[in-house]
């Protein structure tokens, strides 16, 4: 029941906004829809907390602690983003960068995107997982090219082709998976693609087929996660799309894609009886972290900068999942949460910063504290948080990752540490002059919605010093689930 609500709200919302999206109150409608989604998601969470894992609509949907926490996170960030985008898009419109028609497209596509991600999270059918991932791509492609500038069209095209091809590979992987499953689960296997069934019999799946399948799925969905060297679409898409989209892209979409990868890894682990999938993930993770940390040094565009930082953090999370085991998975899940909250908060602040100075070039953005303290502090604190500075929660998960790495794979620890240090120097040296110093920019026409920023940072800060036992328990469940 709740599932239907969770999926229905954004889907209907998308249709509704496709009609009324051009009206003045469209933004408010969008906020309301997101709120409804959030409430439905909360209900779902409560249900799971009390009832435990469950399947619905003859097993087409499957909710366990792992995906329900991502559902909650997605709904939350989706809501705050819609709150943020209300004044933001209005200002954009007044700066003449967007027409009413574009705003309609934006609002409806935004909700569609939400729906796609929620479907991807809740579905039990690997086929539908693929379908919804493709749907997410299609809807965001239009969002990325919203401004219709040369740059945005180019970015969207690259995004489209790269992810499209990637997704296609994932489809082949799914087909192989189906093949492997079918001769275990028997011929007319309507449910040979149902994850729960696959999970039940993963021990008997033919290893070599599963190996192939996993590779295709990993490359396919990994492209969307933004793992190096499949990441090339990510900075362009983040930098050229509107800021709320960048926020949800790196805050949510990457998580969802990673979620898909992990679901597949669980099966592959079971089938292969080897650490191969884990090692692949670790390799991708390390490579992404290191490469991204060096990429950071050459950035001039603020949103590109944080896009690369997203790659870096996705790398860390992937590495953690690759290591496996309850602690590492716990850390990875925590890091997923922390990263999406912090990164979206940063993008909110950065968005307003770019509006203040009228450019995304970092050497033009100066003295935010002087002109708009809340934006300045938001950006500064968010930046420090994403750099893994205690007492913010990002440090907590990085700490756990490092400790586990030291225990299981000591060789990897120095690499990670170097990457972290390099990234710190790169980002912070850009952050500081933007926040501090003097400026002659003028304040914004509308008061920016920075409540989301500080809500997110507040949560992140709390998680740094205190993780509520219920939440911790929930993470543990999920972690154990992934560890299989």
């Amino acid at each position: 029941m709740e599932i239907l609500l969770v999926l229905g709200c954004p889907l209907l919302g998308a249709m509704l906004l496709a009609v009324v999206g051009a009206k003045r109150y469209a933004a408010e409608v969008s906020v309301a829809i997101s709120l409804a989604t959030l409430l439905a998601a909360t209900a779902l969470v409560l249900r799971i907390i009390h009832g435990g894992s469950m399947t619905a609509l003859h097993e087409e949907f499957f909710i366990d602690p792992f995906n329900v926490f991502l559902v909650a996170l997605t709904a939350l960030v989706g809501f705050t983003t819609s709150v943020f985008s209300r004044p933001y898009m209005r200002i954009e419109a007044e700066h003449g960068r967007l027409t009413a028609a574009r705003l309609r497209l934006y609002h409806s596509m935004y909700q569609l995107f939400m729906a796609a991600m929620l479907l991807a999270l809740t579905t039990n059918n690997m086929g539908f997982l693929w379908v919804s991932m493709e749907m997410a791509t299609l809807s965001t492609v239009l969002l990325v090219s919203l401004y219709r500038t040369r740059a945005s069209v180019e970015a969207a095209w690259k995004y489209f082709i790269l992810c499209g091809v990637g997704i296609a590979l994932a489809l082949f992987g799914t087909a192989l998976l189906y093949a492997a499953a079918e001769n275990v689960l028997g011929g007319e296997g309507m449910n040979a693609l149902l994850w729960t069934h696959l999970n039940a019999v993963k021990g008997q799946l033919e290893p070599r087929v599963m190996g192939l399948a996993f590779v295709f799925l990993l490359v396919g969905y990994g492209t969307k996660v933004g793992l190096a060297p499949l990441h090339n679409w990510l900075p362009d898409a983040h930098a050229e799309g509107p800021t709320p989209v960048s926020a949800v892209l790196s805050g949510l979409l990457l998580n969802v894609a990673l979620y898909a990868v992990i679901r597949c890894k669980i099966l592959a682990d079971g089938a292969l009886h080897s650490t191969l999938p884990g090692h692949m993930l670790m390799g991708f993770g390390l490579l992404s972290t290191v490469l991204a940390s060096f990429f950071l040094w050459r950035q001039r565009d603020i949103k590109r900068l944080f896009a690369y930082s997203s790659i870096e953090h996705m790398g860390i999370i992937t590495f953690a999942f690759g290591m496996g085991g309850p602690i590492a998975n716990f850390a990875a899940l925590l890091h997923m949460t922390m990263h999406s909250l912090t990164k979206s908060a940063i993008f909110f602040a950065a968005g307003h910063a770019t509006q203040l100075s009228g450019t995304q070039r970092m050497d033009k953005i100066r003295g935010l504290l002087a002109i708009h303290p809340s934006v300045g502090w938001g950006l500064m604190l968010g930046g420090l948080a994403i750099l893994g500075m205690p007492p913010f929660g990002v440090f907590t998960s990085e700490y756990l990752v490092l400790i586990t790495a030291m225990r299981d794979h000591p060789w990897a620890t120095p690499i990670l540490l170097v990457a972290l240090a390099v990234a710190f120097a790169a980002i912070f040296s850009r952050l500081q002059p933007m926040v501090f110093g003097d400026t002659d920019d003028r304040p914004l026409p509308h008061s920016p919605a920075l409540v989301p920023v500080f809500i997110h940072l507040g949560i992140v800060l709390m998680m740094g010093v205190y993780i509520p036992p219920a939440l911790a328990e929930w993470y543990r469940l999920a972690a154990r689930l992934i560890a299989g």
């Binding site: 059918n125 086929g127 539908f128 693929w130 379908v131 493709e134 749907m135 299609l138 492609v141 239009l142 090219s145 219709r148 500038t149 040369r150 740059a151 069209v153 180019e154 970015a155 969207a156 095209w157 690259k158 489209f160 082709i161 499209g164 091809v165 296609a168 590979l169 489809l171 082949f172 799914t174 087909a175 192989l176 189906y178 093949a179 492997a180 079918e182 001769n183 011929g187 296997g189 309507m190 040979a192 693609l193 033919e206 070599r208 087929v209 192939l212 900075p235 362009d236 930098a239 050229e240 990429f295 050459r298 950035q299």
Partner: protein, 221 residues
């Protein structure tokens, strides 16, 4: 088992045709002929699916064959032809750098694909068990084609032939995916092509040509 053998031989013949077509696409310069080749590919796909359906008596394969026919032989080509006319790129041909090398690489990929497919076809239960290698080959070749092309339009065609390869793989290994899933995929494909269409126009109005060489401004320096 006789007719089954016959069917198998026919199907394998069709598979071979599929592979041949993708090689042809790899080398084809003219967008128009490329599109026609794509249609042929679709047709072959439908034929093989029908054959399999009839031999293995799988009703849902008929549906999916029909779906494929509608989508890949009628709708998509129609859209693409209209786009071509609208964009006026029917008879523009793109320079392909040394086709022989491309062919050689393609050959290598085919061998690689066959080797890769061995274990899977070993356990596939279908009549087309050994065609999986071909499907994989088609996929890789289309991939190669996409990254060899310099024009948006031809890239899309490559993308579609990649889809065909996937579909063929699905049918050949497992008699096709569950119906719902196939519907979903078909829908996605349709939407994708629409969006491609939109993009052609965006790209043209921004860069007044569909040459991808101009889409290289976003980079690190």
């Amino acid at each position: 088992m006789a007719h089954l053998n016959l069917a198998t031989q026919v199907v394998q013949m069709l598979a071979g045709a599929l592979l041949l077509i993708s090689f042809a696409m790899l080398a084809e310069r003219r967008s128009r002929r490329l599109l026609i080749l794509l249609v042929w590919q679709g047709a072959v796909l439908v034929a093989s699916t029908l054959l399999v359906a009839s031999t293995a008596h799988l009703p849902h394969l008929f549906y999916s064959a029909a779906l494929t026919f509608v989508l890949k032989v009628c709708v998509l080509p129609w859209i693409l032809f209209r786009l071509m006319r609208k964009l006026g790129i029917e008879r523009d041909n793109e320079p392909l750098v040394n086709v022989p090398t491309l062919m050689l690489v393609g050959l290598g990929l085919v061998i690689f694909a066959f080797g890769l497919a061995q274990p899977v076809s070993a356990l596939a239960t279908t009549v087309l068990r050994n065609t999986l290698g071909i499907a994989l080959a088609v996929i890789l070749l289309s991939f190669l084609m996409i990254l060899a092309r310099r024009k948006a339009f031809t890239q899309v065609i490559g993308f579609l032939s990649l889809e065909n390869g996937l579909f063929f793989a699905a049918t050949s290994t497992t008699y096709g995916m569950p119906m719902v899933v196939e519907l979903g995929m078909a829908l996605d494909l349709l939407v994708a092509v629409f969006i491609f269409g939109i993009f052609f126009f965006h790209i043209r109005e921004q860069f007044d040509s569909l040459d991808l060489d101009q889409l290289e401004s976003l980079k690190e320096d």
